[in-house]
């Protein structure tokens, strides 16, 4: 699943570690989500949405895989 996490993070000039601290997750997890290697659970997705004050569907894009 594609997402805009890297862009949203960059807009706020946060490092992956900064975002991980804010989410209470590991930097490894943030990295894996950003690179599309891991799709977060619903609770974590909602946490991300709350942090960026955006609806989930504006962060995670439900595009069919090629």
């Amino acid at each position: 699943m594609k997402n805009r996490l890297r862009v949203l993070r960059a807009e706020r000039a946060w490092s992956q570690a900064d975002l991980a601290e804010r989410l209470g997750a590991s930097r490894q997890t943030v990295n894996a989500i950003e690179t599309g290697r891991y799709d977060p659970s619903l609770p974590l997705a909602f946490k991300i949405a709350r942090l960026f004050a955006m609806p989930i569907e504006q962060i995670f894009l439900d595009e069919p895989e090629a």
């Binding site: 490092s15 570690a17 930097r27 490894q28 997890t29 990295n31 894996a32 290697r37 891991y38």
Partner: protein, 301 residues
């Protein structure tokens, strides 16, 4: 965290990595004693008697670093499996040179003999347990190194280009790495004590079994502490590594059971089962951690 913000950090880290690797190779070599076979071989080549021991110490360290560098160059931008294979193959070459030139940990036998008495000769299960002990203690040492030194420690461990973000080791990671190092060290102690329990005289056996149980207890307790502190991806990786290793060992045990029906192999020793499960779990966990996220099982969907 200034290191992680610097664009030059990855390149610098690679230099630090090779310096660390060279230092480790030198430390390993320093524990050894030149073998008679190597000295005879060099004498046959006309190497002066005074120079042969120096070469016996220098050659393995140089070959180890050279093989690491060669593996890195040959496998650049190659798939992970190919990289692992190249590192294993070239590592085996370095290991052969090391074993040919030096008898490693030459003083360890005397220390063990003094501490627990004479040992019976190690069978292949005991050799496996000793190898597992060495791997666990080496992993514990390297993890503790990064836990103590943080970003500087992470930079010093890199021999490949890494993203600057990967060198940003903060207090959460350091704490987790500290626990991991302690857990790995406890597992190393358990494996070593189990190997000793199988090799010592009867009167020392109980003490070794108790030491192994204490090591295993701490390993499990630390595992629980770590599990509670892990986030969802890390827990997923732990589950995946246990699942894959359980499938592999179950398949292996089934094949063994089938072969034993024909009398081709003997009965499975409990020590062998522990060794196989622990080794498989360790290898899979290292592989999954190196990949960075679960893909093989579930794919994070």
């Amino acid at each position: 965290m200034s290191l992680s913000r610097s664009p030059a950090a990855p390149a610098r880290a690679r230099v630090y990595g090779y310096a660390t690797l060279s230092a480790c190779a030198l430390l390993l070599v320093a524990t050894g004693r030149p073998t008679a076979k190597a000295l005879d071989w060099m004498a046959g080549l006309g190497v002066p008697e005074g120079l042969a021991p120096v070469l016996a110490y220098a050659a393995p360290a140089l070959v180890l670093v050279a093989m690491m560098a060669l593996a890195h160059v040959l496998t650049r931008k190659r798939p992970l499996v190919l990289r692992w294979a190249a590192f294993l193959l070239l590592g085996a070459v370095a290991g052969y040179v090391l074993g040919f030139c030096l008898e490693l940990f030459a003083g360890a036998g005397g220390v063990i003999d003094w501490a627990v008495g004479p040992l019976r000769e190690a069978g292949w299960i005991e050799i496996g347990l000793w190898m597992l002990t060495a791997v666990c203690l080496a992993l514990a040492g390297t993890t503790a190194f990064v836990a103590v030194l943080g970003s500087a420690g992470a930079a010093a461990m890199q021999v490949e280009p890494v993203a600057p973000e990967d060198l940003d080791v903060r207090s959460y990671e350091r704490k987790m790495m500290g626990w991991s190092a302690a857990g790995m060290a406890a597992l190393g102690v358990a494996c070593g004590a189990l190997a000793l329990a199988r090799q010592v005289e009867v009167d020392m056996r109980a003490a070794m079994v108790i030491a192994a149980c204490v090591g295993m207890f701490f390993n499990i307790a630390i595992g629980i502490i770590l599990w509670r502190a892990l986030d969802e991806l890390q827990r997923r990786m732990v589950i995946d590594s246990y699942a894959i290793s359980a499938i592999a060992v179950t398949a292996g045990a089934f094949i063994w059971a089938a072969a034993s029906a024909f009398g081709v192999v003997g009965e499975i020793d409990a020590g062998l089962l522990f060794l196989a499960l622990t080794a498989a779990q360790l290898i899979v966990a290292i592989h999954i951690t190196a990949k960075g996220a679960p893909q093989a099982v579930g794919g994070g969907a």
